[in-house]
């Protein structure tokens, strides 16, 4: 991985934050490595570790709500799925992330 050092640093920065929110890194190591590398690249090229799975609008009010970890801005939605949209984080008690599908916020009756 080209951005190994920065990926590892992001992991260290995010772990206590998501822990306080009741989440943890997914046990799916391959997925976590892939997503963190994407974030490291986005940070380098676009200026922030933006979400790899949400689109930027180039409007600051929106784009700042999809900087990782974006859980605080999408809490009801992620709490209902027990994972974040990308699946980088899962609820602290989740052991098999493979069981957790992506469900659109609108389908859960939640404001995206």
């Amino acid at each position: 991985m080209a951005h190994e050092a920065r990926s590892a640093a992001l992991r260290e920065l995010f772990a206590p934050l998501v822990g306080a929110l009741g989440y943890k890194f997914t046990p799916d190591q391959e997925l976590a490595d892939f997503l963190l590398e994407q974030e490291a690249v986005l940070e380098e090229t676009k200026g922030a570790p933006y979400c790899p799975c949400q689109v930027r609008t180039h409007r600051r009010e929106h784009d700042m709500t999809i900087v990782c970890p974006c859980i605080p801005y999408h809490r009801a939605h992620f709490d209902a799925m027990r994972r974040c949209w990308c699946g980088l984080f899962v609820h602290r008690d989740v052991t098999d992330p493979g069981d957790l599908p992506q469900i659109a916020a609108s389908e859960l009756g939640i404001e995206g």
């Binding site: 920065l13 934050l17 306080a20 929110l21 922030a48 570790p49 600051r60 700042m64 900087v67 859980i71 605080p72 801005y73 809490r75």
Partner: protein
């Protein structure tokens, strides 16, 4: 005042709604004057450690310049998720000087 109170600034150096970075004992703190009261918080964002001094202050809320995380200077709480916070420090103003307890 006991020894743990350290003078960090003259009161006039922090304007209302203003921010001032201070470094007592090498510790990066931020003084914020809001509603006529001076508050002291860590000058380090809980998100990715950006210095908060270049941020904006609106009422009791400071916004990090890096990715706009917002903190209440009275409690240090991240407005969107109060489980996350930045450290706060007790402040006294006496004789026109600002003291912080470390």
């Amino acid at each position: 005042m006991t020894d743990s109170w350290i003078k960090v600034a003259d009161e006039g150096a922090v304007a209302d709604g203003g921010l001032l970075a201070v470094y007592p004992c090498g510790l990066g703190l931020l003084l914020v004057k809001a509603g006529g009261t001076v508050y002291a918080v860590a000058n380090r964002c809980a998100h990715m450690a950006c210095p908060l001094e270049a941020g904006a202050c609106d009422g009791f809320v400071i916004t990090c310049p890096c990715h706009d995380w917002r903190f209440d200077v009275r409690t240090g709480a991240f407005v969107e998720a109060p489980e996350i916070s930045i450290p706060t420090y007790p402040v006294r103003v006496a004789g026109g000087e600002v003291f912080v307890e470390l």
